[in-house]
């Protein structure tokens, strides 16, 4: 092969790192410039030229993703999820709170705010007994991830359209949680509900920084009736599985044959007990009852959700965004099943890395176009040559 052929092949290999759509528009043009700038007799791309192309390809890829977030379906889905996700988190935390309160007592208003349960003033009593461990570890971390207050603050900020404040708060909560837990030597693996909460906060921070449309606040939810129906469906599911059913439902007395079936179901259902039961607060061994009481409801919810959310490009994107924290939580839970168990440091790293990546991406997005984005940016001009 000639020197020119070798060099052109080398440049083409480097240009493959660019996004396909960008390459389609600019590959021949950039190649022309590269060949024109090449030294006589040069057979392969110079190291600095190669690094420059790779770095630029990375920048173009990041921008392409960000512009994708500005396209109409993604913008609508991000704005929708940015407001709905905090509302659902608030609902989930409230239902868990009500469920726990029904079991252990609601305590004083101060206890309620930080998510502590038990006798009135129990938090104050335990604080007097051991201020350090109570104030800085258990109750605070519980308040951050299980208590309703952070979710309430986030939901209010998101609904008011205070995008930047909500994003900063959404990033602060999981970071504070990690700071306290890791600083006190806690293990994070094997607590999928906490992991899902942390990832939900991280995702919310990322979405809020990425989606200028989220500045519309609660008005973002008005865009279609099916979205409202989807919200109601998801809220009902989360609410019921978050613990409301325990408050409202009184188990009936079973006839013998039903009890036998329940026992068989329970034995069967004990096999996969893990992620979902821990996630929704169903203890091991209670799957039989859970299936009997909740199975139908969950089936209806799932069918309704699929019918509602897969119906349009916006809904599909919204659904995929909602799935992110749960999918990550499931992966973390599966990692916790590895035998022999992973060392605590490895487990903690596994939990922390996705969250930090989300927050890092939020920071990059914020620095990338947050400064230029107005409250409602409909889209951006095309790349060079596309006009």
């Amino acid at each position: 092969m000639t020197a020119t052929g070798d060099l052109e092949g080398g440049y083409r290999r480097l240009l493959r790192w660019y996004p396909t759509s960008y390459r389609g528009r600019h590959e021949e043009e950039i190649l022309g410039v590269l060949m024109a700038a090449a030294q006589p007799g040069q057979r392969r791309p110079a190291m600095r030229e190669s690094l420059d192309l790779l770095w630029s390809a990375l920048k173009i890829r990041v921008r392409t993703i960000l512009r994708g977030a500005d396209s109409q379906p993604w913008a609508a889905a991000l704005a929708f999820v940015a407001v709905l996700l905090p509302l659902l988190m608030l609902l989930l935390k409230l239902t868990i709170f009500l469920d726990r309160g029904a079991q252990y007592g609601f305590g004083t208003p101060a206890d309620i705010l930080i998510g502590a349960y038990g006798e009135p003033g129990s938090y104050a009593q335990s604080f007097q007994a051991n201020p350090y461990s109570v104030a800085l570890t258990g109750n605070v971390t519980d308040a951050l991830t299980a208590g309703p207050l952070p979710a309430l603050i986030l939901a209010v900020l998101a609904c008011l359209g205070r995008r930047r404040a909500a994003a900063i708060f959404a990033a602060f909560v999981p970071l504070a949680y990690l700071g306290i837990t890791l600083g006190n030597g806690y293990t994070l693996l094997g607590a999928p509900r906490t992991a899902v909460t942390l990832y939900a906060y991280g995702l919310e921070a990322l979405i809020l920084f990425a989606a200028p449309g989220a500045a519309r606040g609660w008005r973002a939810l008005r865009w279609r009736p099916s979205a409202l129906l989807a919200i109601a469906t998801v809220a009902a599911g989360v609410g019921m599985n978050g613990g409301l059913w325990r408050i409202f439902h009184v188990p009936p007395a079973f006839p013998a044959n039903v009890l036998g079936r329940a026992a068989r179901l329970r034995r069967l259902a004990n096999l996969p007990h893990g992620f979902i039961d821990r996630l929704f607060g169903v203890g091991a061994g209670q799957w039989g009852g859970w299936l009997l009481y909740q199975g139908l409801l969950v089936a209806i919810i799932v069918i309704a959700l699929v019918a509602l959310l897969v119906g349009s490009p916006v809904s599909r994107r919204a659904l995929s965004l909602f799935a992110v924290p749960f999918a990550l939580g499931a992966i973390i839970y599966l990692c916790s099943l590895i035998s022999p168990p992973l060392p605590a440091s490895v487990g903690n790293t596994l939990v922390v890395v996705p969250l930090l990546l989300m927050l890092l991406a939020a920071m990059v997005v914020s620095l990338g176009h947050g400064r230029n984005a107005g409250p409602d940016v409909p889209g951006r001009p095309a790349t060079p040559g596309a006009a």
Partner: protein
Amino acid sequence: MNDRPLQEPTFLLLTALADGPQHGYGIMTDVDRISAGRVKLRAGTLYAALDRLAAEGLVEADREEVVDGRLRRYYRLTPPGGDRLAVEVERLQHNAAAAARRLKLRHRAMDGLV
């Protein structure tokens, strides 16, 4: 309009397009000439910058032609791009004039001390 100071390569790129459309290699050589060899734009950096500036509406594609079997696309400054460059020129001139005045005063003061 975004009035943040332009980085030097961006300023030089817009300057290269100020008096008429140019293709990618033309911009590279022109930037080299304008900066007296201090700033050398590589192809990757050039096209990443063009992509960003086009997204900001400061430059746009002008026309295409094929020379020796290679595609050439020409870029031109848009009206907002021209305005942005003018603002930057004014800012630099203002700063340069202020610096020159202060230096003159400093030299006078030093001459007075001698």
